[in-house]
């Protein structure tokens, strides 16, 4: 019963982590979401520190203290969320307003307390039960938590999602009450649960920051939400208002009016619009955007579009006389919204025209077919969203990598083209990186990039057209004519004349033309000296939105000031700061017990520190590398995170459970498991791509099952070193078990941030190899 309660507490902790992530994202915490989660997770380690410091007092009262911790967990979860909803935090205002920093710190603290309480219960359990068993219930419970929360994201809106961790932890408390029969305290516990439940149920809405797209739209006089769909991809909301109008980079030569539009929002951020279509004439405005340039090259082309969004790209293809249109979309609700819910609004447009919508990731779908198209377009939904400054800088994006471009080029006909549009960032960087990426993809295929790339821009968007064969004179003439009609600027085409650039949308020093020309002429000095990272992304380093160059930080600070750094590449700066802060904070909490305990820690302290620290780092690095790698095949980070984390945790739990039953010495067992981890991980790093490619066409469930199966042996082996180390400490009556737990927890948190920082710079494979090295080093310092 006690261990089952531990199981539910562990599951609620993981469910809480994911819930918190969802709520902060919807609220608009921006770049600080990651740091809030990372700091909250230091609570895992802090639980160990507390138990260590109170060891004397808690001795013999572990079970009662467990109940107390579980109750505190529920109480602080409910109350904390209630209070945090009343302490608004504005992530951008922090640049100017010190008061925001104070609010942020309070929010961090509020989020950390439940994790401290929950982890205290887990650490206490190590004193009561066998380490292998405790670790088993802890990890398998965590795995279940992930699984439950993933299903819940389909059913429960973000403002109510905390009910899940709340319910799971309530089960834990009820089990403990039944088991411990605490008498009078039963009533208190019951009251606390009812109180916390009341708080949660009384929450009506998340306090979304007022300048998020959805919130701004709802300020419009006649605006109202007319549709809401939930999924792990986020909450989709459709807003109806006669005042919503969007057409990024619309040509100044367009003199008509836009059609009525509904606004489409994902977690409160503007995603796209849904056009009201009376006839095809309603959509003529779409011809007046830079995205239409590619259509001037073809008559009745076959078009493949990655990303449906609100259907704008498909509409544009049709209004530009496309013969057939195939669109891929991952979000399960978008096709239904366009084909069914809003079919009257769009006049059945998506049912009656030659538009095929496929629920799949675009790149995966292309890998499964031999069909060739005239045009492949990365829709604005996919490319423009990733243009938002800094927020997605460390998100993996397998749509914009050298390998992805090869797939696109293989799937366009001989004279076909790939077209990608981005919102131009200031200072220029995303379009330059895109061109560098296209250049490398073409070079790797033995194609001369200078002859096969054309770039145009409006006042806010830039479009890159990439061909397999050189642009003909006729084709460049068509692009020039298109730009002339639309008042768009030519940035580059083979044989461009400097007199032709910077005519309608004038920028200082012909910045775009000069930069693009230098990139295409292989001017490595330019890339090296440019203040932003323009290195082409690959599948091993799939970070298109990562522009930060640490070496150039002093230059940027000097030229732009600290306010601008946060505004330009805030995501990475916050991530980096988080890493430093969590490292310092963790160090402090690891050292504190030593300071207070004097010489009370027996055995070799450094050895304990290194062993459990290295295990924490290596486990987390492997987990993150695998999530990122598998997300390429499952085509969604949410699916891959859930599958990998659940599989690894549950199988680690099983591994740890059986570790108590092996008759070999602990050291030998750990040696075998680490050798296995190293070998297995190497195989995954070097050969997993081949396995996964062979099942790419399989249904999602099969791919999920396959990913989970692959992880089970690895996870089982990864579950052995930690409880084995704890067993050794326990056998010698070492008081440092809670301390070991803290160390492991802290280093895991540091590694979760560190892994992203490392992978963005050296790639996923090398990060995985570092993790293997970490395990081997841990073996060398195994406690005796």
């Amino acid at each position: 019963m006690y261990l089952t309660a531990l199981f539910f507490t562990s599951s609620s902790l993981l469910a809480l982590e994911i819930s918190l992530m969802r709520v902060l994202r919807v609220e608009g915490f921006g770049n600080f979401t990651f740091s809030a989660i990372a700091l909250a997770l230091t609570g895992f380690g802090a639980g160990g520190t507390i138990v260590f410091l109170l060891k004397k007092y808690l001795s013999g009262r572990e079970k009662t203290a467990s109940l107390f911790s579980a109750v505190i967990f529920i109480f602080t979860l409910g109350l904390g969320y209630y209070i945090s909803g009343r302490i608004s935090f504005d992530p951008l205002r922090i640049i100017w307003d010190k008061n925001q920093l104070f609010r942020l710190l309070i929010r961090y603290f509020i989020y950390t307390v439940p994790f401290i309480a929950g982890s205290t219960f887990i650490v206490l359990a190590f004193s009561v039960e066998k380490p292998g068993k405790v670790y088993f219930y802890n990890l398998s419970g965590s795995g279940l938590g992930i699984f439950i929360i993933l299903i819940s994201l389909f059913l429960i809106p973000p403002n109510r999602i905390f009910i899940i961790p709340m319910s799971l932890s309530s089960v834990a408390v009820i089990l403990l009450i039944i088991y411990l029969k605490p008498g009078g305290s039963r009533i208190i516990t019951f009251t606390v649960i009812v109180f916390a439940g009341y708080i949660l149920f009384s929450i009506s809405d998340i306090n979304i920051i007022p300048y998020k797209g959805l919130k701004l739209a709802l300020n419009l006089p006649d605006a109202k939400i007319i549709e809401r769909k939930l999924s792990p991809f986020g909450t989709l909301e459709v807003v109806k208002s006669s005042k919503i109008r969007s057409a990024a980079g619309l040509s100044l030569s367009f003199e008509d009016t836009l059609p009525g539009q509904h606004g489409l929002y994902l977690d409160g951020d503007s995603l796209s619009t849904i056009d009201r279509i009376k006839s095809r004439e309603s959509l003529l405005y779409l011809r007046y955007q830079t995205q239409s340039a590619v259509y001037s090259l073809y008559t009745r082309p076959d078009v493949f579009i990655i990303g449906l969004g609100g259907g704008i790209s498909a509409e544009r293809a049709l209004v530009n006389s496309a013969a057939n249109i195939t669109v891929t979309e991952e979000n399960p609700h978008l096709p239904g919204l366009l084909k069914d819910t809003f079919k009257n609004h769009n006049n059945n447009f998506f049912n009656e025209n030659n538009i095929t919508i496929i629920r799949n990731n675009g790149r995966n779908y292309l890998n499964q077919t031999d069909y060739r198209w005239d045009i492949i377009e990365i829709s604005e939904t996919d490319s423009l969203v990733s243009s938002v400054g800094g927020i997605y800088s460390t998100d993996t994006d397998y749509t914009l990598t050298v390998e992805a471009f090869h797939t696109y080029l293989e799937h366009v006909r001989t004279d076909g083209a790939v077209s990608i549009t981005v919102l131009l960032k200031y200072p220029p960087r995303n379009i330059l990186k895109l061109i560098n990426l296209a250049k490398h993809a073409l070079e790797k295929k033995g194609i001369e990039p200078e002859a096969c790339i054309a770039v145009i821009r409006s006042w806010s968007t830039g479009t890159v057209i990439i061909k397999k064969t050189p642009f003909t004179g006729e084709e460049t003439a068509k692009i020039k004519s298109f730009c002339d009609r639309m008042f768009f600027d030519l940035v580059y085409y083979p044989g461009i004349n400097p007199d032709e650039v910077n005519i309608y949308n004038v920028v200082k020093d012909e910045l775009y033309y000069k930069s693009v020309s230098r990139i295409l002429k292989n001017d490595t000095g330019f890339r090296k000296n440019y203040p932003f990272n323009l290195k082409y992304p690959t599948d091993d380093r799939p970070y298109f939105s990562y522009f930060f160059k640490i070496k150039k930080l002093p230059v940027l600070l000097k030229e732009m000031g600290h306010k601008w750094i946060l505004a330009v590449e805030g995501g990475y700066v916050v991530l980096f700061s988080t890493f430093i802060i969590t490292a310092l904070f963790s160090f402090l909490l690891i050292v504190t017990p030593l300071f207070f305990s004097g010489k009370k820690i027996q055995g070799k302290k450094i050895q304990v520190l290194l062993y459990f620290g290295l295990l924490g780092i290596s486990y987390m690095l492997i987990e993150i590398v695998l999530i990122k790698k598998v997300s390429k095949y499952l085509a969604n980070p949410i699916y891959s995170s859930s599958a990998i984390i659940s599989a690894l945790l549950i199988s680690s739990g099983i591994g740890s459970y059986f570790s108590d039953y092996f008759s070999t010495s602990r050291k030998k067992l750990v040696s075998y498991s680490i050798v296995f981890i190293a070998g297995y991980m190497l195989i995954i790093l070097l050969a997993a791509d081949r396995f996964f490619v062979s099942i790419e066409s399989a249904p999602l469930l099969v791919k999920l099952a396959f990913s989970i199966l692959i992880m089970i042996p690895l996870g089982a082996a990864m579950g052995i070193p930690f409880p084995s180390g704890v067993s050794v400490l326990k056998n010698r009556s070492d008081r440092s078990i809670p301390w070991a737990w803290s160390i492991n927890g802290y280093f895991s948190v540091i590694a979760s941030t560190g892994a992203v920082l490392i992978a963005t710079n050296i790639g996923l494979t090398l990060t995985g190899i570092i993790a293997i090295g970490g395990y081997i080093c841990a073996l060398l310092v195994f406690p005796k």
């Binding site: 921006g30 608004s88 504005d90 951008l92 205002r93 640049i95 100017w96 920051i209 007022p210 300048y211 998020k212 797209g213 919130k215 701004l216 300020n219 419009l220 006089p221 006669s242 005042k243 109008r245 969007s246 057409a247 990024a248 980079g249 619309l250 100044l252 367009f254 003199e255 008509d256 009016t257 503007s270 243009s387 938002v388 400054g389 800094g390 927020i391 919102l423 960032k425 200031y426 200072p427 006042w459 806010s460 008042f487 005519i503 309608y504 949308n505 004038v506 920028v507 200082k508 306010k563 601008w564 505004a567 330009v568 805030g570």
Partner: protein
Amino acid sequence: MGKKKYRIFVLVLFCLLILFQAAGADYRKERKRLVEIHIIREGIEDPLVIESMLTVPREEFVPDSLKKKAYLNQALPVGYGQTISQPYIVALMTELLGVDGDDTVLEIGTGSGYQAAVLAQIVKEVYTIEIIKPLGIKAEKRLKRLGYSNISSKIGDGYFGWEAYAPFDAIIVTAAADHIPPPLIKQLKKGGKMCIPVGQPYFTQVLKLLEKDEQGKIRIYDIIPVIFVPFTRKIQ
């Protein structure tokens, strides 16, 4: 007794008057300091703009709770997710329009009314449109109270401009947009200028200047990047 009461009343009134005067003088002092440090030193040269910035009482356009911050060179919240722009940006946008006493200007996004007031000091007529009703009503009352008789305001959708008074010598758009509304381009006089910030509601935006030449041909110039500084504090 009656006389004594009357004297006390006059004395209190007098003291209050001095206090108000002193506060007014303080604001004037702060305004002057702001204009010298953040407007003139930062490169604004147009004497009409400088004079206007020295005249318009920004403290009247911010919520009472933020009056103390009225002369910081930063944007401040006015409610509904909207802000009163940073003084330097107001001055820059006004200077970019290159307007004088004979001109009529259309402003899209009245907000607090501060930008309209700054323009009204310089030009013949200002027409301003606000889409958010409570903001528009407040601004209209405020501008009337402050005696700006050459400002006409209305609640409505600025996307379509103000056909009845078109064409305009200059148009100023104070809200960031992802495209320039075609009706506004039509309502801009040949030889006229339009100033508009472009970008996403997060992070950097670029201030753009659109010029329509005598032949009706349009050019857009990137001026400077600006940071949209949203404030979420509730307005009392």
